[in-house]
């Protein structure tokens, strides 16, 4: 083997997987081969064919069309969740890390208590209060993700707040907000970015898990987790129905995690 430069296979593979996934989801917004909710009794449990590339489900709905719609829902929920977690996490972590003091002490004690808790369980608590449904899942997961982001941002702000460049900005008369968001935050970005990608994957897995449990996205809206829970009842008669939605979740998560490793390796160069 003669390689001059070691190729970043993670970045390439992650880019391809994520790119094709996003492309399919984009196409799915404008065009699906069938109406994802149209039932065709004649096509019940139809196998894989040209007409139905992933077969049909127990109501004769086209699985491929539903997978397209379902992955869009999953992606949307994950994006919103991570946005909520990041925005509130940055606000909380920046203020506590930069100012410190009693406020920091109180908020971080609460944060620690919540952080010690698996985020899935936390989301379940919120769902049991708010009730099931897509928007409630977004709110529940979003809130559940805040502590971990807050902790990371706080750590970065603690590290940078006494650095020379911050002191010099202060001497030049920059306000606290300017220092926090124009001077310190950009330096915290590399750490935050990898946390965001990991958070994104956790959100995809959590959304799928909650929909699987029947407390996420409600029917008839398609969701990958929900499809799997329906498919499980027919696992022994129509295994393909379970395999495809599951494979798409793996595809999505694998793409993003390879991409994040690739980006990490690239920035170390």
């Amino acid at each position: 083997m003669s390689m001059k430069k070691k190729k970043n296979y993670n970045l390439i593979a992650g880019g391809i997987l994520t790119g094709t996934m996003l492309l399919l989801i984009m196409i799915g917004i404008f065009y699906t081969p069938y109406d994802p909710n149209a039932m065709d009794p004649a096509a019940k449990f139809a196998g894989v064919s040209l007409a139905h590339p992933m077969g049909c489900d127990n109501f004769g709905r086209d699985v491929f069309s539903r997978v397209l719609q379902g992955s869009r829902t999953t992606l949307f929920v994950a994006l919103c969740t991570v946005t909520i977690g990041t925005v509130f996490g940055i606000a909380l972590g920046a203020v506590t890390g930069y100012y410190g003091g009693i406020l920091d002490e109180i908020l971080m004690r609460i944060n620690d208590a919540v952080f010690a808790f698996p985020s899935l369980l936390l989301a379940l608590v919120f769902i049991s209060i708010l009730g099931p449904g897509r928007n409630n899942v977004i709110a529940a997961l979003g809130i559940a993700f805040v502590p971990s982001f807050a902790r990371i941002v706080r750590g970065e702000f603690l590290k940078y707040r006494n650095m020379d460049y911050v002191k010099s900005a202060k001497l030049q008369g920059a306000g606290d907000w300017r220092i926090m968001f124009v001077h310190i935050l950009p330096n915290a970005m590399p750490v935050l970015l990898s946390a965001i990608i990991i958070g994104f994957n956790n959100a995809v897995l959590a959304e799928a898990g909650m929909s699987y449990l029947g407390i996420g996205v409600q029917p008839p809206e398609a969701s990958l987790g929900r499809m799997l829970s329906e498919a499980q009842s027919y696992l022994f008669t129509a295994p393909a129905y379970a395999i495809f939605p599951g494979a798409v979740i793996i595809w999505m998560v694998l793409g993003f995690s390879l991409l994040s490793e690739g980006i990490g390796a690239e920035s170390e160069k």
């Binding site: 620690d112 698996p118 379940l124 898990g209 449990l213 599951g246 979740i249």
Partner: protein, 316 residues
């Protein structure tokens, strides 16, 4: 000892905070349980009588301390839906969830430690690279889908267990463990992949340090250096991960219980959530919180045993 005492106090404070937050959120958000119990047609007198009987007319703090106080005595309240004591509903479910989590944790250790050491020792080899690829894929599999695949593979094709054929630990302990093995495997797989990866990179990072070169230069044999020096230090960051993984497994078992129809805490939690049976939900959340916080305490103590530097650092 001082270190452990401090950690125990921290644990109690965390539990207090969690219980307060949980009680507060259900108090503020959940609406009136009396209306859901009696329906909208009930007479005001009936509603008032039940409110008085359940103590719902007292102030928030009175209610919280009464709830927390009786919880400590083992009285977890009364279920709205079943009108029976919560503790009788969940006590025999706790061992099921604990067993599932425990087996999953053991599986993770048994698989991850040898694989992690092996891949680190043979860094860059074919086995190392194939395990890397397999790990990446396993980490992307949602545990419940792993459960479905395992059901299909081992339940249907190899017929190693009967899906849905759960046997209670009270009836036959051996068969109970036998049934739990495959659900536990579904929980353990993604964590194992992460554990292998972490141990591998931790060992590789340690090998490059100066003290290892010194140990070799003094003429130690390679296995001796590996197990007495490298592994001892490399395992320190991994212990923290094991603790977090164990806590995650407790939560993960909620989903896996659903996949394999195991009557543990997770199943009753989900039924109670859809029935809006708040006393049961609260009790289960607090029980799981206790398990999770206790795991963290044990990890902190073990952590100090493997790395004595920790306790002196904390005291500063």
């Amino acid at each position: 000892m001082k270190y452990i005492g401090k950690k125990v106090i921290m644990m109690a404070a965390t539990l207090l905070t969690v219980s307060f937050l949980v009680f507060l959120s259900f108090f503020v958000m959940s609406g009136d349980p009396v209306t859901s119990m009696l329906g909208t047609q009930a007479t005001p007198e009936k509603v008032e009588a039940l409110r008085e009987e359940m103590g719902l007319n007292d102030s928030f703090f009175t209610q919280y301390f009464r709830w927390a106080g009786s919880f400590l005595k083992g009285d977890m309240g009364t279920s709205y839906s079943y009108r029976m004591p919560v503790e009788s509903m969940i006590v025999d479910k706790i061992p099921v969830t604990l067993a599932l989590t425990g087996i999953a944790f053991l599986l993770m250790l048994v698989l991850a430690v040898p694989l992690g050491i092996y891949t680190a020792k043979h860094e860059g080899g074919i086995a190392d690279r194939s395990i890397y690829v397999i790990n990446q894929i396993i980490m992307a599999i949602p545990p419940f889908f792993a459960g479905i695949l395992i059901t299909f593979l081992f339940g249907r094709i190899f017929r190693l267990f009967t899906p849905g054929g759960y046997v209670s630990y009270k009836e036959n302990f051996g068969q109970f463990i036998g049934y739990m093995f495959f659900p536990a495997l579904a929980i353990a797989l993604p964590k194992t992949a992460m554990a292998v990866k972490l141990l591998r990179s931790s060992v590789i990072g340690e090998v490059k340090k100066d003290y290892v070169r010194t140990a070799f230069s003094r003429g130690n044999r390679s296995n001796q250096v590996f197990y007495n020096h490298i592994l001892k230090n490399a395992v320190i960051p991994v212990v923290t991960f094991w603790g977090m993984a164990l806590a995650d497994m407790v939560a993960g078992s909620i989903i896996i219980e659903q996949v394999f129809s195991i009557p543990g805490l997770g199943r009753i939690l989900l039924t109670s959530i859809s029935n809006r049976d708040y006393p049961v939900v609260e009790a289960i959340i607090i029980c799981i919180a206790f398990i999770v916080v206790f795991i963290n305490l044990v990890v902190d103590i073990i952590y100090q045993l493997v790395d004595p530097r920790i306790s002196t650092q904390e005291q500063e």
